[in-house]
Symmetry: C2
Subunit: 221 residues, 2 copies
DNA sequence: CCTCATTTGTTGGAAAAACAACATATTTTT
DNA sequence: AAAAATATGTTGTTTTTCCAACAAATGAGG
């Protein structure tokens, strides 16, 4: 019986794998867990990493900070999602981002070399793991492409609209919520918070958008 | 003996696979090739795709165009590199980008469903293919992350400097060249061409950067 | 309930980008 | 080699963002 196995099995990385399989797989991946409280540094930009990580509880932020101190939130990674997987394939290269816990957070560490190396004989589930990994990469790729679409817009207004309309579509509902505070949203879209605030309220006055805190809604025309 | 096998084997997707293996693998992936002349549309935004493609000769551009007609070049894909692989994992979703040939271009099409499905018994090389795919995804991820880093900069000047310094580092040489015309570079960095031109020449006057056509060099301080 | 800290909204001036229109340079075509 | 088409550079104006300082609202703790 493995600790946290139910949490682990909820991750898309372990899709199609059962508890029995997991008990073989985890030692093979040299897995271990670690807990963090809020705002602890898990990976620091400039270091090299050798693990792919799964957030089991809580959440972490992927943060890029340039020399001048401009902070950019790449994304927030929560339950079941991965981080570090991209860079763990190029172990010698220093990572350009930091990972910081956003909460009380439980993280599963997996030895990245063991993921690719299909272990001995009976490792059906190992193949499943690699397949899962591919899908996760594809999805992350799509996310990055989306973000690039937002950032490619020239004005704060267009960035907001492209992001929010994506979120509206994704939610499938009229009213949708976003996982960011105003400052975080500004960081995510790489714009000035105050200018963004002004722009949001302009959109509200113009009757295009309605919002209260993190709840948004596009007005019917 | 397979047509174009030497070109195919040069692709990172087929790393570690020999010509003998390839002759088994290609039919299993339902592979076929197609030629395009310059500026032909290979994939059109909004359609759904069912193939992962490898550029065997020439090059293609990954282009995003919004409703207002603002064109953004995501990237240029050339010899041996892939496109479509990300979206082929989610066959039902319409793709948000178009792919346009940039030259006389030879493209290898692979049935995306066959890549994941490890075929029958003896398919060692199929596993190799999946491993290669993972590395390619990881690398593409890093590229997207880089691009996000450039776009996250607030000013044209900073975008230019972050991109060019990355290119300088990557080349390892003092003088380096970039694969873009001025208009393409502006599109890639999502800035105004004329403003970028002004900024480039300002950097030259200030003695920070020197350039002629596509050849750039950072001045020693 | 009050105080303090944090987040969010507002405003005006400075800086930068977008835009437009045109000048110059380069490449392609004939 | 000349003409046409394309790419790049320049300049002045308009628009937008950035920045800073402050005001208002919200939230947390005692």
């Amino acid at each position: 019986m493995i600790e946290n196995s139910s949490l682990i099995l909820q991750s898309p990385l372990f899709y199609g794998i059962n508890e029995e399989d997991l008990s073989h797989l985890l030692p093979c991946l040299k897995a271990f867990t670690k807990t963090y409280s809020k705002n602890e540094i898990i990976f620091l930009a400039g270091s090299t990493i050798h693990h792919t990580c799964v957030v089991l509880q809580g959440g972490v932020q992927i943060v890029y900070e340039d020399i001048l101190g401009n902070r950019t939130i790449f994304s927030r990674v929560t339950n079941g999602e991965l981080f570090g997987e991209t860079f763990s394939f190029f172990e010698s290269e220093p990572i350009p981002i930091s990972v910081i816990s956003d909460d009380n957070t439980l993280v599963l560490f997996l030895d990245c070399r063991q993921i690719l190396t299909t272990c001995s004989s009976t490792c059906k589930f190992h193949h499943q793991l690699i397949e899962n990994m591919l899908r996760i990469f594809a999805r992350k790729n799509i996310f990055l492409n989306k973000k690039i679409r937002y950032l490619s817009k020239r004005t704060t207004r267009e960035k907001l609209l492209s992001y929010l309309s994506d979120e509206a579509t994704a939610s499938g509902k009229g009213i949708f919520s976003i996982p960011f505070s105003r400052q975080e949203l500004a960081d995510f879209l790489c714009v000035e918070r105050s200018a963004m605030s002004t722009e949001l309220n302009k959109l509200k006055k113009e009757g295009i958008l309605d919002f209260h805190k993190n709840q948004f809604r596009f007005q019917q025309s």
